[in-house]
Amino acid sequence: MSRWLFRRTLQAVVTFAVALLLLFFLLRLAPGDPLARITGDRTVSPQELAQLRARFGLDQPLPAQLRAFLGGAARGDLGVSIEHYPERVTSLLRARLPATLLLGGTVLLLNFSLGAWLGVRQAVRRGSRFDRWLTRLALAAYATPSFWLGLVLVAFVSVRWHLLPAAQMQDPLLAPEAGTLARAIDLLRHLILPALTLSLTSLALPLRHQRAAMLASFRLDFVTAARARGLTERKVRWRHAWRTTLVPMLTLLGLWLPMLVSGSVFVESVFNWPGLGSLAADAIAARDYPVLLGTAMLVSAAVVLAGLLADLGYALVDPRVRPT
């Protein structure tokens, strides 16, 4: 088991390293001088430009640049932001990570719990109107662009009806000495709309997965046996059949994380949620490629890690998968 774990971890590290290489070459591939963008509104003197060029290593030959890049990544130094110069990319990422974790975590929780509950119901009522219409609705929501849904929700819920705040993560006037309950409520009020937007537009995935996994589990022998033993339908459903769907749902995590991150770029920018997604969106507008690169690296690492954890969970739960 530990040998397998070691090999699997090594595989993950190699995958991440290759991803880093791909990212590096991606930037060098596109035409244009990345540093040229910096001379936007600010007047940058030729000396400052030369300094920056040296700082970003753009005057070095390609192998030296690659070495500097990989070396920096290994040390945890992802360079310096162009727009917020001289702020470091790592400090920017660190500052914005919690907000994205909060939003992403909430959406994950929402989707997996809602998806699980509804998916099981669908499987049980397979072929019924409930089953068919829920699938259609979920697919329609999946086909909805998240930025559009966000705009519509803000326009009506916030601006028209004044029910929830339109943007940001907290009330700017919230006093620093406000109690935890007041803070929590304020945070929740700001969290609802962005979480709802991201959740609805991706619910179809866990829903369908759960449904399919549940249907598959119904066909398993031990479920039929449980029914034959006279256990109530509810017990059969949740205690036996559903348990087997946990593992397939776990594998969905690795698949779904990139989607969640991509969606959050749009949702965070519409709602001005101060997370990694809006950091990426701002970096796009400012052509701040070190920040964009750093974000891509962080997200890739997260995806690889999630895949590794999912595999590990899979192996722990299902002994058949574990190599001896």
Binding site: V18, P145, V152, R160, I284, V299
Partner: protein
């Protein structure tokens, strides 16, 4: 080959959602094809100062912030979206199939290296790859955008094709054919492709939906398709200041995206169900 594909499509048609998907998609495609001759030239400016006007007989979808007819803009946007998505998906399928075939046939370290690279590429979210390319590129021509969209979406296809190759390589009939002197090329065309056509078609339809959403998102961020070429995402971006006072300016492009992607996904689902009835 034609027989099995036709059978697949027939089965998809019998599926209620599939039929709906085909119909709506057909309507969208029709609108896209007919757009220029039958509808007003979207680039012609009327009285700009009049701004957005509500839907009426003259303008069934209303007009946008610059008083341009929304119906023709949405229809022309359909052209662009379908063309871009279609070409990008064809490119993705081609590249993915090629890589999958090479990996499956060559085996050994070639296979290992290619699949490792595919794993790594899948770890980076597609949007970020595209963003990194577009951010450094100054003004991206439409063809380059299609290439970017296509070359970022072939990874899953390559896995799929490789899987098919591995599965079929050791099937009896393939061994028999090879024993009779059939070249790998012939084996691919006569045996592998027909079997893989079904899953590839499903992947294609779902891929089109993904690309449409992706392209709309890019246009919304100001990348992607540049004005004055109409694009649905760009229309939603323009409609942002008007969403409360003139909701039709955001409603129709958004609805167009939803309907098109939904119909494509339903079609893909129906094809999937036709291939594997147990998942229905």
């Amino acid at each position: 080959m034609i027989g099995s594909l036709g059978e697949l499509l027939r089965r998809a048609w019998r599926h209620p959602s599939g039929r709906w998907g085909v119909i709506v998609l057909g309507l969208v495609a029709l609108a896209a094809l007919l757009a220029p001759p039958f509808l007003q030239d979207p680039a012609a400016m009327r009285d700009v100062v009049a701004g957005a006007t509500a839907p009426s007989l003259a303008h069934p979808f209303g007009t946008d912030g610059l008083n341009r007819d929304m119906l023709s803009r949405v229809a022309n946007g359909a052209r662009v979206s379908l063309a871009v998505a279609g070409l990008a998906v064809v490119l993705a399928l081609t590249v993915g199939s090629a890589v999958g075939l090479i990996a499956g046939y060559a085996g050994g370290w070639v296979d290992a290296v290619l699949m490792r690279a595919v794993d790594a590429a899948l770890a980076i979210p597609r949007l970020f790859v595209i963003l990194l390319l577009l951010v450094v590129w100054e003004r991206i021509p439409l063809a380059a955008l299609i290439v970017v969209l296509g070359t970022t979406g072939w990874f899953a296809t390559s896995r799929l094709v490789r899987g098919e190759v591995l599965r079929l390589r050791h099937e009896a009939f393939v061994l028999a054919a090879e024993g009779l002197g059939a070249t790998p090329g012939r084996t691919i065309v006569r045996h592998l492709l027909p079997n893989a056509a079904g899953p590839l078609l499903v992947a294609a339809t779902l891929g089109v939906g993904d690309v449409i959403l992706l392209e709309a998102g890019l246009s919304f961020l100001g990348l992607g398709i540049q004005p004055p070429t109409p694009s649905w995402g760009g229309m939603v971006l323009d409609a942002r200041p008007l969403i409360v006072s003139a909701p039709w300016t955001a409603l129709f492009p958004g609805a167009a995206i939803v309907l098109t992607v939904l119909s494509v996904n339903l079609l893909g689902d129906a094809l999937q169900a036709a291939l594997d009835p147990r998942s229905a």
